[in-house]
């Protein structure tokens, strides 16, 4: 080889090395990537063959419009995100009712899934609604609470196998006066350690007082349709206290959960909304005042939805209120709420009012959420940082409840496309749905996010009511930097639910709660993902554990997952 050729070769090698080095690694403190991020539908190729069955046979029974949810969680503790999708089924009283089953999919760590439902002990049929994931017995294995029409189920996880312990635990759900138990209709559920005793308690929503005989004929132009929620009375919610011995006690009455009027509850968003370091519970209600249960030192909840301004729209009317989530999307230390509503209502975005005596105000219009969402019926909605630029974006899955809607409202369709809003540094949201490839039309219900392929960015799972499950892989989100934090409690509950984590990087401070609930009937993965934009490291991490203990951790490199154990340090995974 001549000298020239050697020089050329070296140059090429160096050049390649430089370009490889520069490819997915932004410079320290550099600007966030603005390359477009798209979502690709990969359910089939990922091995997910789930179809939701709502048992509809033309009688138009209301629960058929609602289900169901999903959860991203690590059921086998192998470090990756598995998937549970809840199914409804044929109605038990039908002749030869269709048996449909929820499905648990084990992740191989790279986004390929295997159906392990039977092996895991989850092969049973029920009219499933939603799911909440929590290690209620602090044994290191995430357990499941599944809500349904009929009895709910508590499944205890031991080494990746689930056992139904509902009866002994006493958490099948509380019936309503005059209603047979098979018609009890639970919806959202969330695990929360409301009294900071280190054990996860359980909050369970009920939707409406429903039965087949209470579900009348509703229709348009001679065609039967599904009845609206106004046709039914509301139902109570339930707070179960974890007694620590495998049983739970219904403490709804002494804890003030029953002091307010019954609601038509769907979703739960946990956060400390009034800055007193106790986790509060926001509940979305359908065509009813939304609730905000303020936790008074773990001794009582006082419902303040009306006083805080989240109960109603500006004209005093209750909007639909299905999915709900909370986040500090402005990175200013205050948690806001996003709520999915009906067509012609638009999303709600409740921000704490500046100097506002604990009140919230709906800024959805001024933040750019209303126009795009006006013709949608939004079920699941959640905050997540899809492009990892450090600002929480919004995803909303949509789909009408009435399959004949287009016959009488030409502007509305039964199947609807989802919405993805990009957060413009906390000032405004931009609709980037089309650019992100979210062009599919479904009857969207539960949705959640999780990093299924362990590449740093967040993917999405969506239930299509009576349709095939969607798994949307995030392509390009990890052009920006990130850090993942998984917390383990020692004195506090093992899942660290209720812990607040603050991450400083690139000049901004973000905070997130480790929590259960959010979205609609679904749970996203518990590991926290912080987008870092162009930063290659995190300047500091602070964890405020439930109970108030603070743990400050040093600067650390990005693009890694870390385990933070209470009272101990940071451990790279």
């Amino acid at each position: 080889m001549t000298q020239t050729q050697t020089t050329i070769t070296l140059t090429m090698i160096l050049g390649a090395a430089i370009s490889i080095a520069g490819c997915n690694k932004p410079s320290d403190g550099g600007a966030a990537s603005t390359k477009p991020v798209t979502f690709t539908s990969i359910a089939s190729e990922a091995g997910i063959d789930f179809k939701h069955e709502n048992g509809s046979k033309g009688r138009k029974l209301m629960p058929e419009t609602v289900g169901s949810g999903l959860a991203f969680f690590d059921y086998d503790n192998d470090g990756d995100t598995d998937l549970l999708v809840i199914n409804s089924s044929g109605w038990a009283w039908d002749k030869n009712p269709l048996q449909a089953y929820s499905a648990l999919y084990q992740n191989d760590g790279k986004g390929k899934f295997t159906n392990v439902t039977k092996e895991a002990g989850l092969h049973f049929s029920l009219y499933g609604m939603g799911v909440a994931v929590g290690d209620y017995d602090n044994d290191g294995w995430d357990d499941l609470y599944i809500t349904a029409v009929g009895d709910n189920r508590l499944l205890k996880n031991t080494n990746g196998k689930f056992t139904d312990v509902t009866k002994t635990a006493g958490v099948k759900g509380v019936g309503l006066p005059g209603l047979a138990p098979e018609f009890k209709w639970s919806s959202g559920a969330a695990w929360v350690d409301y009294d900071n005793d280190g054990k996860l308690d359980l909050f369970v929503c009920q939707y409406v007082k429903w039965s087949t005989s209470l579900d009348p004929y509703c229709g348009k132009n001679g065609t039967r349709g599904y009845c609206p929620p106004g046709t039914f009375e509301g139902a109570r919610n339930t707070l179960y206290h974890n007694e620590g011995n495998g049983t739970f006690k219904d403490v709804s009455k002494p804890m003030g959960i029953l002091d307010c009027a019954v609601g038509k509850s769907f979703g739960i968003a946990l956060a400390d909304y009034n800055g007193d370091n106790w986790i509060d519970i926001a509940v979305s209600n359908d065509t009813w005042a939304n609730f905000l249960f303020i936790n008074e030192g773990g001794k009582k909840f006082v419902e303040r939805g009306v006083e805080t301004g989240i109960a109603f729209a500006e004209n005093g009317r209750a909007k639909a209120g299905m999915g709900i989530d909370a986040a500090d999307y402005k990175n200013d230390g205050n948690f806001s709420l996003v709520i999915g509503n009906f067509a012609e209502e638009g999303l709600s975005l409740f921000d704490p009012m500046e100097g506002g005596a604990g009140m919230f105000e709906n800024n959805a219009q001024s933040r750019g959420l209303v126009s795009a969402s006006l013709l949608n019926v939004t079920f699941a909605t959640f905050f997540f940082d899809y492009d990892l630029d450090g600002w929480q974006d919004i995803y909303a899955t949509n789909g009408h409840v009435d399959d004949i809607v287009s016959t009488y409202q030409s502007n509305l369709t039964f199947k609807q496309a989802p919405l993805l809003f990009h957060n413009e540094k906390g000032k405004k949201f931009n609709d980037v749905s089309k650019a992100a490839g979210m062009n599919y039309q479904i009857v969207g219900r539960g949705a959640a996010y999780g990093d299924i392929d362990s590449d740093g960015d967040l993917d999405i799972g969506v239930v299509d009511n009576n349709g095939k499950f969607l798994l949307l892989r995030n392509d390009g989100g990890n052009n920006n930097s990130w850090i993942k934090l998984r917390l383990v409690g020692e004195k506090t509950n093992r899942n660290a639910i209720g812990a607040r984590v603050k991450v400083k990087a690139g000049g901004i401070e973000q905070q997130q709660y480790v929590r259960s609930g959010g979205s609609f009937l679904s749970e996203s993965e518990r590991t926290l993902t912080f987008g870092l934009g162009g930063s290659t490291k995190v300047d500091s991490i602070e964890v405020i554990w439930p109970g108030g203990t603070s743990q400050v951790l040093p600067a650390t490199a990005a693009r890694s997952t870390y385990l933070i154990t209470e009272g101990k340090g940071l451990e790279k995974r």
Partner: protein
Amino acid sequence: MALSAVALPITYFVLNGKAAAPPPNASFETKRKYYTERIKKDPSDIDAYIEFANIEDREGMFMSARRHLLAARALGAPDTRISPILGRTLSRLAREEEARVELEKAAKLSPDSVDSVLNLAGFHVDSRRIGAARNVLSTWIAAHPDYTDKTGLERLVMALVSCADEKAASQLSEKLLQLAPDDPGALTLAARTAMDNTDAAKAKGYLEKLLPIAPDQAGANYLYGLILYRQKNYDGALKAWLKANQLNPSAPDVYERIGQEYARRGDFKKAAYALDQIATVDQGYPAAYRAARACEKAGFKDDANYWDATALGLRGAFAEALVVAQKAAKSTNPKRKRRALIAVAESYRGLKKTKEYVAAIEEATKENTVDDLLLRAYAYFQAETKETLPKRLVCLRKAAEMAPERRAAISIEVAEQLRRTGNRDDAEKELEAALIVAPEDPTLLKTLGSLYQDRSDNPERIRKSLELTERAVKFAPQDELAWLQLGQCYLTNNEAAKAVQCLEHVIDLEPGYGPGYLELARVYAKVGDKESNQQMMQLYTKYVSFEQKHDTLRTRARGPKAKSEDIQAYGDFLLDAGDLGGATSEYERIIGRNSKDKRIRTLLKQLYGRLGRTEQLLALEASEK
């Protein structure tokens, strides 16, 4: 001497730095400016607060009046000056407990004041405490046997009538008559109260004295007719009623009496005409039924069929109504045919046969008059299908072209449909075009302002929304929703002080309107007034609790498995809330299930009496015999 008499008050004002108060006929704005300045100069000027509050109370600015009265009280003003006005103001704000305290205090402190006792009695009547109202009035009257002020006595008689103390009202009106034997007002009151006391002879005497003095009182002629009728002087009665009808052609009671009298005489043609008139206005089952019978007897077959179909429809018997309406629709008279086809359409609508409903309306409205187009548009709206909604727009636009004076109202409907279909840009254009034609229509201004407000993600829309809504309240100052919207506009525009004023006025205008309290609470929170925020929130929470209870009881009562107890609970709730018509409907449902329910029957009889539904009362009483 005269000069000094003038100089003294001037000197007083000059020495005290107070300008003279504006004359009584000055505008409210002038008075507001004057008192605001005065209070600014001297925040301890008790007289200013009280005088201003009195003016505000009369102008309907109750929130502000309350604030000023409380300020005056805090400065040491005696309750004799505060309580009477404050009590009145609080009762207008529907703050019952507080109002009661003040009004009782005022009555106690000024036992000889007729205003105080009338305010207190009026408050009790509004709160449906009739017994308490009677008690208060009778005690005062007994304690003031020498009271002879004519206006005061008239007011006392009216108050006694409103709390159904007929005997006392009659006695007092006779006293009034002794003071003013030829006064038409006194004679009218005396006649009315005598009738209420079923003393027809006395009432007749008063009316025979009144009518020569004031022959053009429709009410007096009507009453006279009733008395003559009872005395079987049918010719006299008919004459009196025809005179009453001539003086007031829009009074339905008179038509009813005339119609029934003609029917009694066998002059069914005239009876049919009268009863047809009232049934067109009344739109209730008894009126439709009577009209049908009269038309039948008069040989007006088509009209009889039309009214029979209407009556059946009102009873929910849509299948039968359809058959009869179809017969009526065979009429060769275009007007009769049209209204019969509409009855056919309504029957189809009751049977939920939308296609046939629309077809019948299309048939009925072939003339394409403005009313035809609007009726067709309504039918298309009711059908609400992909095919009918565009046709609705076509009809509305054509109607607007043909009737520019109705352009504003029609454009609002068009815009609403466009808005609902997501075409907010087109909705704006529609309303903007209508505004050129009707620039002072307050509803149009309000609607377009609201649309801009809904899309207020840019300063230009905020500005336009504010401008239009300011104009809307200028032209419709009593519209609480316009004030609410204006308050919201000011808040969006960061003008919190103005927002507070507007939203307080919403409460002034309609103290029962919950969202007004919610918005006011928000504004108080924004300006950091925590105490006021909490006060408003307490009131709003009460409203919400009421609405939620209403919702729950109604859902239970309307459910497919509703029990009689559920329906009764809802009926009782409506009764307590003052919705007598609503309560009546619920109790009627119970009677339909169990006609022997004594409590419900008693309640129904009372309600029929209070609502003036004589026919139904008589029918219920007859069913007991």
